[in-house]
């Protein structure tokens, strides 16, 4: 499965591009700014999210600048 490997800044940009709804966990600071709460797999300082699922939901959003990798699940337990 192809996933985006996103920086926090890229994740926030997608959050804004999707009208603050798709990735939102509902945390808003005292200044009214949305804070993305990670609800996805983190690898180091990167956030992973399925490419197909995102592009099917938001075909109009330009993803050409986002890095894509093949997802390999962790088997740590």
């Amino acid at each position: 499965m192809k996933v985006f490997e996103l920086t926090y800044e890229q994740l926030q940009a997608l959050h804004i591009a999707t009208n603050h709804e798709f990735f939102k966990c509902g945390v808003e600071d005292e200044n009214g700014n949305d804070n993305v709460v990670p609800t996805m797999t983190q690898r180091g300082d990167k956030y992973l999210y399925g490419v197909d699922r995102f592009t099917q939901r938001f075909p109009e959003i330009d993803i050409s600048g986002l890095k894509q990798i093949t997802f390999v699940a962790e088997e740590t337990i």
């Binding site: 499965m1 996933v3 603050h20 709804e21 798709f22 990735f23 939102k24 966990c25 509902g26 609800t39 996805m40 797999t41 983190q42 992973l48 999210y49 399925g50 699922r53 995102f54 099917q56 939901r57 997802f71 699940a73 962790e74 088997e75 740590t76 337990i77």
Partner: protein, 413 residues
């Protein structure tokens, strides 16, 4: 209703106790009962699977609903407001009649927004993560210039549109949602369904009456973040919920305390894939390595009991066919595994088999499907979820057979 059990599955279990066959899992008095194939136990809106607005209802509490709001705008606006002052709204409008239908105590909104966003909303009567069902009447006069429909939204969940409903009292029935916050929004929309109309809508009128919102009891496994919802395979005839292993999970909002004290019992599910999965995981994410989980690892059903380190890690000794019913049980001193209602050998991968169960892991306060939330890491697994039943009393051998056959029949395994 008792169902004559005449199909090929009987050949798997020639000892099935025919006379005791029960097709209602509630007869087993489960402490938790989730099933992905019951359309009534999953909340999805009418536009289909893409919305993924899934809340798996805990049927052990039944499927009843409790009213949390009934519109009372006989004198006031009853807490409804337009937020951005783009409408003038009033209560106490009586005798609003069209098509021979007349309604009293109606909320009336007159647009004054130009081409700005139009909505009315009521706050604070919803609880985030619970599931709700609403009925309401909308009347949009057909001589409105711009406003022709509405769109409903609970919290920031997916918007459901009702376009071009002008000209009569229109009943919106059984609108369902899983809000991420406490707000119920009613957007006003133009002929194209846009809530920021392209033409000046000033002077257009909308009436709303008899809003009734119910909380769906047993609404225990939800996901308010759209990007993290599992996918249901069908809106009308679902069989499973698929979690992608990257971001998806269903979060239990129930009282984990009712499970954390269980020192014995049974957990039954369907072995849906040899890929690694978490059908359910109870953890204490504030402490390292504290969890109780049922799932799949190394291509077999797996049971993990960790209490600041491994206590018990068990699996089936022999390969198990995908599509089998598994049942982990503990009597408090020994854990056993049944496949399709029949006992099979267990291999102790680590630790011991002393019947360690949920209470072995002290202070679990987190209960989810498809992910394991630990102190130092969160692990997602691509889980195919069909069924989960937890009971504090282990099933008897006869009950195990009948329950397994019930699931085999229900899920066409």
């Amino acid at each position: 209703m008792r169902t004559p059990f005449i199909d090929t599955h009987v050949f798997k279990h020639p000892n099935i106790p025919w006379g005791d066959f029960q097709d209602n899992p509630l007869n087993y008095s489960p402490d938790l009962l989730l099933d992905a194939s019951d359309v009534n136990a999953n909340i999805i809106d009418s536009s289909g699977v893409d919305d993924r607005n899934v809340a798996i209802i805990d049927q052990s509490l039944g499927m009843s609903e409790t009213n949390v709001y009934t519109q009372n705008t006989s004198l006031t606006v009853d807490g409804w407001n337009d937020g951005t002052n783009n409408m003038t709204i009033t209560g106490g409008n009586n005798g609003i009649s069209i098509g021979g239908v007349s309604k009293d105590n109606v909320l009336k909104g007159v647009c004054d927004a130009g081409t700005n966003l139009l909505k009315v909303f009521k706050n604070t009567f919803l609880t985030a993560s619970k599931s709700y069902s609403s009925d309401l009447y909308i009347y949009i006069p057909s001589d409105n210039n711009v406003i022709k429909g509405v769109a409903l939204q609970m919290g920031n969940a997916t918007v459901t549109s009702y376009n071009n409903i002008d000209g009569s009292w229109y009943l919106i029935e059984n609108y369902k949602g899983v809000p991420a916050n406490t707000k119920f929004n009613v957007f006003l929309t133009d002929a194209s369904g846009d809530s920021t109309p392209s033409l000046d809508c000033d002077g257009d009128i909308v009436y709303m009456a008899e809003v009734s919102t119910n909380s769906i009891n047993g609404s225990h496994f939800t996901q308010v973040t759209e990007a993290s919802r599992g996918l249901q395979d069908s809106a009308t005839a679902p069989t499973k919920i698929t979690y992608d292993g990257v971001a998806d999970f269903s979060d239990g909002s129930l009282s984990v305390a009712s499970f954390s004290g269980m020192d014995k019992g049974s957990i039954i599910g369907i072995f849906t894939s040899t890929a690694s999965q978490y059908y359910v995981a109870l953890t204490d994410p504030s402490v390292s390595d504290k969890y109780f989980a049922v799932g799949v690892s190394s291509s077999k059903p797996y049971l993990w009991v960790y209490e600041s380190g491994v206590v018990s890690q068990l699996t089936a000794t022999d390969p198990v066919d995908v599509g089998s019913v598994f049942e982990w049980s503990s009597n408090g001193s020994l854990t056993t595994l049944k496949i399709n209602g029949v006992s099979v050998d267990i291999t102790i991968v680590a630790g011991s088999n002393g019947g360690q169960w949920i209470s072995t892991v002290t202070s679990v306060d987190n209960m989810v499907i498809s992910r394991l939330e630990l102190l130092s890491t969160t692990i997602y697994r691509s889980t195919i979820f069909k069924h989960l039943m937890i009971r504090s009393t282990p099933l008897t051998d006869a009950e195990s057979l009948t329950y397994a056959n019930y699931l085999i029949s229900k899920h066409n395994l």
